[in-house]
Structures are given as C-alpha cells and as structure tokens.
Amino acid sequence: MAVEVRVPTILRKYTSGAKAVEGSGATVREVIEDLERTHPGVRGAVVTSDGDLHRFINMYLNDEDIRFIGSLETPVSDGDVISILPAVAGG
C-alpha cells in the first residue's frame, strides 16, 4: 500500500526538507519502518524503544487519530494520508 506521509517541520531534517514523503506497508507501523529505510531517523522520532507511539507525537490516518483506531497496528490503504503532528504543550 502506498501512502503519503506528511512530515512536520521538526522531522524534515530526516526528509531532506520534504514536507511529504511516500511510504508503503500494510499498517502504520510498517509504513514507519519503510520510512526508516528511506529516511533514517524518522522511526526514533515517532516510536519509542519499546515500540509504542511517543507520548508527544500525534499521528492521524486521514482524519482519525490512530490512538483511537488501533494505534501503530492500524491498517492502511492505497492513497491514505498519514499526518505526524508533534504535541504542543508547556506550562
């Protein structure tokens, strides 16, 4: 499955400045693994060493927050759009 992954500015250092890249896989996790091969560094910025989504990263598959629909195991389809959004927080 080929999907578009929209990359926030803080991760564009891994994508040579590109704001969107293409990845493939059957699930969100597989797409991230695929991106790690083509754009090393992306996985570590998004997924913890335990394999979970980072607390301060939100990821959307089309218009759905993946935390509510299967997290990294959410299946993807051709033409889907994954958006990576860093949390914005402070005190």
Partner: protein
C-alpha cells in the same frame, strides 16, 4: 539580539486571546510562509490544569496543519500565555519545546493592565530571546 517581526494585529490578537481565557493559559499558532507570521490560529488548551499548563487540542492542530499544507505555509510561531508569571519560558516550556524552528511567543498577564509579549527560540534546553519588532501591516 536577533529580531522577530510581529504584525501589530497579531500581537493584539494574542493578547485578546489571553485576556479571554484568563485565568487559564491560552495557546495557538502564528502561521505564514517560512518565517513570516501572517495569521493567528487559536487552539483550545485541553490540559487538565489549564491555569498552570497548556496542551493544544490535537484535532484542531490537525485541521490547522491541513490548511497550512494546502497553502504551502508553516507554523512560524507557537504562542501561549502566562497568567501569573513573566513572559519568559518556564522550565516546563523548555522541557516540552519540540520545535527548534519555531518562535515561542509568551504573553504575560501578570499585570493584566499591561500585557507583555516576548519571543524566544528554545534549542535543546537553551533559551534565546528575540527582539520583537512591531510591524504595522495592512492585511
């Protein structure tokens, strides 16, 4: 000190947002083409302790990012208010600052009659203040 050019209308808009949310902290984006703040995007603070902390609503951020993507704009600045402390990044702000490219704007209502607006970059725990240059701009 490096400069941050801030249109007057956006400064007024952030102060108004901060006043409306008081005593809770407000938060939002200033967006535009690379490095050029053109518009304000108000975001809802969903932190359970909104007087002391802020976390922007992710769904609203998603909508904002989609629009930015379509316009080829970026988040230039991330702003929030301090209602009882100066316009300077708190230890929590520094710890949670994720974006080395963003200008972090602080609006302080410590003295509600005289709001203070200051701008910073936060790079790997280091705070660098930017000189806010007020800009009148016809929109």
């Amino acid at each position: 000190m490096p400069e941050f050019r801030l249109p007057d209308a956006l400064a007024r808009g952030m102060i108004e947002h901060a006043q409306q949310e008081y005593p809770k902290e407000c938060c939002g984006f200033l967006v535009g083409p690379t490095g050029d703040a053109r518009e304000q995007v108000r975001l809802t603070n969903i932190d359970p302790d909104p007087v002391m902390r802020y976390e922007a609503d992710a769904k609203e951020m998603k909508r904002a990012y989609d629009q930015l993507y379509d316009r080829d704009w970026d988040v230039v600045s991330i702003y929030h208010s301090h209602t009882h402390t100066p316009a300077y990044p708190s230890p929590t702000d520094v710890k949670l600052a994720r974006d080395p490219n963003a200008v972090y704007v602080l609006v302080s209502l410590q003295d509600r009659g005289h709001p203070d607006v200051r701008a910073f970059r936060i790079l790997e725990g280091r705070i660098e203040e930017l000189s806010v240059v007020a800009e009148e701009r016809a929109s």
